[in-house]
Symmetry: C2
Subunit: 260 residues, 2 copies
């Protein structure tokens, strides 16, 4: 039974998140339904796919990675085209596909996740980017946010920055990198946060960006991020920001399955 890796881009707005749910639309459910149009799956005709990151409701992806097992041998390009045909008109696109070994796993083989968070600062409401950015009205200080972010890089107990619903065994994670870039737009300024780690805790990125926004606004001194981290107490976190600015931007594997 050949296994295929799928690289997936999606707009999170119409979905209750990646994970299949009984009575709500999900990205996983959309792709599994499209797969069932190609060939019946092993469980009463249904397919089950696994993904590198289970994104929350409203969170987008530029390059989520999932895998599926199929009975037929598919040419990867034709599999991608056929799935995109059946996914229409949903805002989910298979942007790459590749055959992988039977022991390759989209989630367990992954060694790195990369997230992007887009924060738009301006008074007037967003029009083209509505639902694709988190918008605030107050100006933000880039250097202060970078100073705050620097305290979070490395191996730490991230209890402060994870949801109380988080199911990870341990709150200790290594955050490899946070970069923040400021981009002048025709109207307003956009800040792009990029975070990279082997894995993230539930709501970790939104907890970090929401906290750094408070630093950028001048409500928090940058040093308070360090104190909040050391407290290892969810109550010490800044406000968790909304999902619409968040993108799963990429997943790293020991060997890139889509290369070549």
């Amino acid at each position: 039974m050949p296994r295929y890796a799928l690289k997936v881009e999606y707009h999170g707005a119409p979905f209750a998140g990646w994970q299949r749910q009984a009575d709500q639309p999900s990205v996983q459910g959309a792709i599994e339904t499209a797969l069932a149009k190609l060939e019946p799956g092993p469980q009463d005709g249904a397919h089950t796919i696994a993904a590198a990151g289970r994104t929350d409701a409203g969170v987008h992806a530029l390059a989520q990675v999932a895998h599926c097992d199929l009975a037929r041998d598919w040419e990867a390009f034709r599999l991608m085209e056929a799935l995109n045909y059946h996914l229409k008109p949903l805002p989910v696109a298979i942007v790459d596909a590749a055959e992988v070994g039977e022991d390759w796993h989209a989630r367990f083989s992954a060694r790195e996740r990369r997230y992007l968070f887009r924060l738009l600062v301006r008074r007037a409401p967003a029009t083209h980017d509505k639902g694709l950015v988190w918008q605030v009205k107050n100006p933000l200080d880039l250097q202060a946010m970078r100073d705050g972010a620097a305290h979070l890089v490395g191996r730490h107990d991230f209890t402060t920055f994870r949801s109380t619903m988080c199911q990870a065994d341990s709150p200790v994670k290594t955050l490899d990198e946070i970069t923040i870039e400021e981009i002048a737009r025709e109207t307003g300024v956009e800040f792009r946060f990029r975070l990279r780690a082997r894995s993230f805790l539930h709501n970790q990125v939104r907890s970090i960006v929401g906290t750094l926004e408070r630093v950028g606004a001048g409500s928090w001194p940058a040093e308070r991020v360090k104190e909040a981290l050391r407290a290892a107490d969810r109550a010490a976190c800044g406000p968790v920001c909304p999902p619409e600015g968040l993108y799963l931007a990429g997943v790293g594997y020991p060997e890139d399955p889509f290369e070549g």
Copy 2:
């Protein structure tokens, strides 16, 4: 009666274009309705505003400029905020406002219009940018498109590149600049065309970009753009491309009304 210049950003999809129409939604109509919430207009309570460019159905703006006359003296910032409040939830935003002289006119005082056209090249359907780019599947040659575009810069009879419905007195226009930039995206490649002229003919940008796409795809040699221009014949034009990649990106005036 003080006059105000308004800089307007909008998403073109829900509108039949800029211009007010009796029975279809328009950007002009949306702003005039919002103005009437602030104070009654001079014609049976209605307002009439003028704009630098009357964009077609589905065309977007980053910085359209319009003007309105109001009875009350408004602080420009408060006028912008009040209009944005009443424009919600439509994807129309007043991104700047300024008081101008009573002889200043958004259309007749303008000395330059700038358009942006976004063309996305990839197989998989767009998700985040759906309706905000024109998407094609075939690869395009940047240098060939630049070579083709070079034939169009300067003062020419643009009969080939204007709609047969165009109401301009003369087909002779001076195109000051076309630049084409290629941007690598996570999936696919985006080409950004930027055109600058004192004024444009109806469908001129879409006729030019549609023709250059044929050059980029290898269907037209770049030289054929020159021949098509010289023919001064609408039938010599390449296919007119769809409106969803087109943005009115800016309007130039002898003095920027929004400066300072």
